[in-house]
Symmetry: D2
Subunit: 363 residues, 4 copies
Amino acid sequence: MTTTPMTTTPIPTPAATPPDILRCAYMDLVVTDLAASREFYVDILGLVVTEENDTEIYLRSFEEFIHHNLVLRQGPVAAVSAFAFRVRSPLDVDLAEAYYRELGCRTERRANGFVTGIGDSVRVEDPLGFPYEFFFDTEHVERLAWRYDLQGPGALVRLDHFNQVTPDVGLGRGYLEDLGFRVTEDIQDADGVTYAAWLRRKDTVHDTALTGGNGPRMHHIAFSTHEKHNIIYICDKLGALRKSDLIERGPGRHGVSNAFYLYLRDPDGHRVEIYTQDYYTGDPDNPVVTWDVHDNQRRDWWGNPVVPSWYTDASLVLDLDGTPQPVIERTQSSEMAVTVGADGFSYTRKGEEMPEYKLGHQL
Amino acid sequence: MTTTPMTTTPIPTPAATPPDILRCAYMDLVVTDLAASREFYVDILGLVVTEENDTEIYLRSFEEFIHHNLVLRQGPVAAVSAFAFRVRSPLDVDLAEAYYRELGCRTERRANGFVTGIGDSVRVEDPLGFPYEFFFDTEHVERLAWRYDLQGPGALVRLDHFNQVTPDVGLGRGYLEDLGFRVTEDIQDADGVTYAAWLRRKDTVHDTALTGGNGPRMHHIAFSTHEKHNIIYICDKLGALRKSDLIERGPGRHGVSNAFYLYLRDPDGHRVEIYTQDYYTGDPDNPVVTWDVHDNQRRDWWGNPVVPSWYTDASLVLDLDGTPQPVIERTQSSEMAVTVGADGFSYTRKGEEMPEYKLGHQL
Amino acid sequence: MTTTPMTTTPIPTPAATPPDILRCAYMDLVVTDLAASREFYVDILGLVVTEENDTEIYLRSFEEFIHHNLVLRQGPVAAVSAFAFRVRSPLDVDLAEAYYRELGCRTERRANGFVTGIGDSVRVEDPLGFPYEFFFDTEHVERLAWRYDLQGPGALVRLDHFNQVTPDVGLGRGYLEDLGFRVTEDIQDADGVTYAAWLRRKDTVHDTALTGGNGPRMHHIAFSTHEKHNIIYICDKLGALRKSDLIERGPGRHGVSNAFYLYLRDPDGHRVEIYTQDYYTGDPDNPVVTWDVHDNQRRDWWGNPVVPSWYTDASLVLDLDGTPQPVIERTQSSEMAVTVGADGFSYTRKGEEMPEYKLGHQL
Amino acid sequence: MTTTPMTTTPIPTPAATPPDILRCAYMDLVVTDLAASREFYVDILGLVVTEENDTEIYLRSFEEFIHHNLVLRQGPVAAVSAFAFRVRSPLDVDLAEAYYRELGCRTERRANGFVTGIGDSVRVEDPLGFPYEFFFDTEHVERLAWRYDLQGPGALVRLDHFNQVTPDVGLGRGYLEDLGFRVTEDIQDADGVTYAAWLRRKDTVHDTALTGGNGPRMHHIAFSTHEKHNIIYICDKLGALRKSDLIERGPGRHGVSNAFYLYLRDPDGHRVEIYTQDYYTGDPDNPVVTWDVHDNQRRDWWGNPVVPSWYTDASLVLDLDGTPQPVIERTQSSEMAVTVGADGFSYTRKGEEMPEYKLGHQL
């Protein structure tokens, strides 16, 4: 089993050329009740079904033209089988395979892909213990951007990003930067502890983020809407369906990324973010934004509290045999502990006390 | 001093004809730091200054044509001097005076009004201990509905309603129904205890509401925007100004009224709601909606928690001499106690447990 | 047959008390292809079906609690059978009957109503030749305001108003003011010719409007959405359905009413407006806004042109026997003639020429 | 003087490596009345002033971190001095210089840049006669994405694209593809005539587009807002300022790009588009969308007409001496001629007639 995350020694930088990653492309997700998950992702969230069978559902967002952005797969344990990234060319799949082999990671190559609609791919158990997939080859499907007749009031138009929980964010960040990701924002404290980092390939704030905590685990997968009212509608609909308890946190405005957000929990507890309106990050000298972990506006620009479960809960990830990866404890200080409630401290204006009604939120 | 609220015997129905009330029109509000209040209501919220002097600021919303919707008055104690209602004709001011005299309430009539821009008015200490004003005569000012060049992204276009805290909601409701208000919605429990009631004259869900608690106190004053994004902008602006701690609760969707809302606290702690999109209530047989106090979607349709301060904090109200009215304790059960946290119980689906992350919100 | 509209002598003011009208409530509309109309009003616009049979469909908006706001009735000639107004009490139906009898108008009273879901009603052929109905009694149905699960991206939440074409607006305005309507806005020229007037009972800009032209005819029926994006969505959906040719005019911002609007044409050519965000008009001294017919921002605040068909086309109205009323020609000057294209003149800033690209719109 | 545009022989593909272009970055625009232009771009549109002097104003959008997106420069003739693109590294400026030299184009290199805030740059007279600039070096300024206190209701958050008029779109498209641009959408007819093409470097529908017509001329520069209501507000504000005649076309929904749009004319007649919500195009196999020139929804998804001036008017461009480039006539068929009015033909559903009120738009 991988104990890499326990070490604090940096992950070596391979001599091999990293693959040219385009973007996060899809997540392969194991759910324990496919019918219940279908109700959540299709009936409630309105993702588009590309195809489905008794054990799998392939879903995409309305502006997508590749086969899918999410695979729901019936299985015994709720977990993530793969975080899949699309690369620029078939050759980049070879590069990915060689890159991870040099890192000493287990890899598996399949010329016909691991899932329907995807061709030649490689899956790896990465140094942080996450199952990553890299592919170029995919079946094109209709881009439904113009199909307003099919789009509901909360239409999800793109897959935006993944979010991964890992014990040592600094370690993971170095590894992902070597792989070609660029950091756009992070959260640190005065002692230089990093609590989270956002990393991108496409021109948005992130394709994936690292959240400090016990891991490897999946924190969330995020889909985009066009406007804020689309996200508000999803909340209103959940209320109408008497399922508002699926709302874990938000809606709100992030400090980090400046995006408008909502966090939901699916029937297995997998976390889904609905997200809109971050900013262009495509220039190589795009300014990195570092937030103080004690800044009460870093995770919610309005200073609304982060519910404890958002810090503590996350989904298991699987190795290439489909076995859950062991969860390694974070030894560095915890963002929840240093910010929430009586133990913690956070400020709106550095050095000033919070009013009672804000503390009231956090007791 | 009035001890009427302590009795549980109904307030008698006068033989006199009640005045024909059009709508809630303005609040006369005492603030302890006029400059700080001006920054909040003018610089941050963008209300329109009709006129001002060293001790008073007269403010209105963008679609208003009467002189003002809010008076900020420098004073020693933060409190409400008057909840002012506009009546249909000058004669209705006479009717109001006679009506309250028959109720044995103290009244004061001023032919030239109590404040600038308002003519012949009567102020009363009502049976619940609140200072009510009734007037018809007012100076017309420019309706700035078309002045988009002056309207900011969070433009407040109308005064929507008042909200009053009183110990016995059932008692107050009967009195206001006699006065000509109609109940549109309320919150009750299985034992018939009423926790809150919404009452209207104009064709919206309310001109004022009664919230059960220690009173007489003012719970909030509410202004409307056109759309939800206008309210979201106000939060974003407060974040940019590093004043997000002025956000007490929300934004969210109310169950009661179905409106989108936000609660702020001004520099004196006076509560201001920003509100949009309730429904038409103008028919005499408009259906009354009664909510179960344990329904977790009644106050927030998304099931987000009500912060304790929202239940406990409110502003003092003044008698006609400008002395704060004594606050009488609510003896009936408290909505906060029966719903929030370990003592309380609330549900999304009747009879079902809440998930941990929702309870997490409420510990 | 009524030739009243031809006279220029005012319609006499009855001694009888007019009924207390609450609001425009529903339109009884004859369509020539019920299936095609159902596709337009139900499948495309998403109005709620209260009930239907082989020859009639009863539709309502999402916030409505009375039985319907629109009746689609299969018939030989596309026309309006009734403009129905709800009154405050059963007694007001008697008042309406007496009022129109005194005016010498033909009336018909039906204790069980003219349509399903409506009780005791009177229909009249009014002095302008329009079929008006007055009723109080109606079946209550579920108000779907909270049913976001049923509301699409272009949800129509209320019936807002009617719009009637009549040759002599001044004449019609006097009659409706006697009936208890109040004018909120109008369009005139320097010679005092009135081109259109907006009249209200509920607290909005209008329950009906009079548009100068050959009449009696029905110009349009208008439904409200909550926000502007809901209206934009309807356009986007029509594009996706390859039915954008149903868009006659807009979307845009009205000068008159300050509302955001869109005009569609149904399969029979009946005009439907989608409308949102006018202002409160409930005070008796609500300021009347008069617009210059040459002001290019009066009908579209952005100065976009009014398509000629919007001025010329309208629907027939029926007498109480179901026979189309003869259409009387407007003898006063035509708004289209005095404003559009080479014959006409309009300005953005009084006295200044329009730029070529604006004239380009109007050739 | 360059007569290159007159030839129909393809522009040769250089052996030199093209520069790695990141995105369109700024336009250097000559205006004849700097004060009038400042009112338009700063007071009305709310672009951020980075710095200014008596003859130049440097403006940027709210999410920009490079020095500027637009330079307004006082000059004798309204024209474009440069379409400036940012490249990935300093080395790419050398590559650009070599690339155009090989093409036989006139180039000028300035180590300290042509404008304030930009370092080492090369400007060229490209084969189509346009002044292109390439630079990497720029001064960083504050990204105002989080400064909601400064952002108005119509906040422009990004520079999105340029649009250029050229006689032979096919010729220009081949040249820009060699330079590294990728086509995302185009408009053609059955005979294979190309009327317009959209080309991108960043992950949006375009960084620049080619519109068939007499050229070289600048058709427009486009800035993005976050949401559609921001664009609607700009129209509302222009109405309030009695400047609605600056609105040339829209607002509307594009077929091409699927974006929501508005076209304005500045005091010199330079065209500015306000634009929001196109789709991700970053994959190398992003599907190209080809529209039929007769499809009435291609330029406006709602089938609203394109005003003739939008086809005919455009701004001059300057050579490196500041002299206007001669305008070469388009010899291929004109989109306006084949689609608008009596001469032209367009359809909503292929083969079907348009209704009168749509034709009414186009007479």
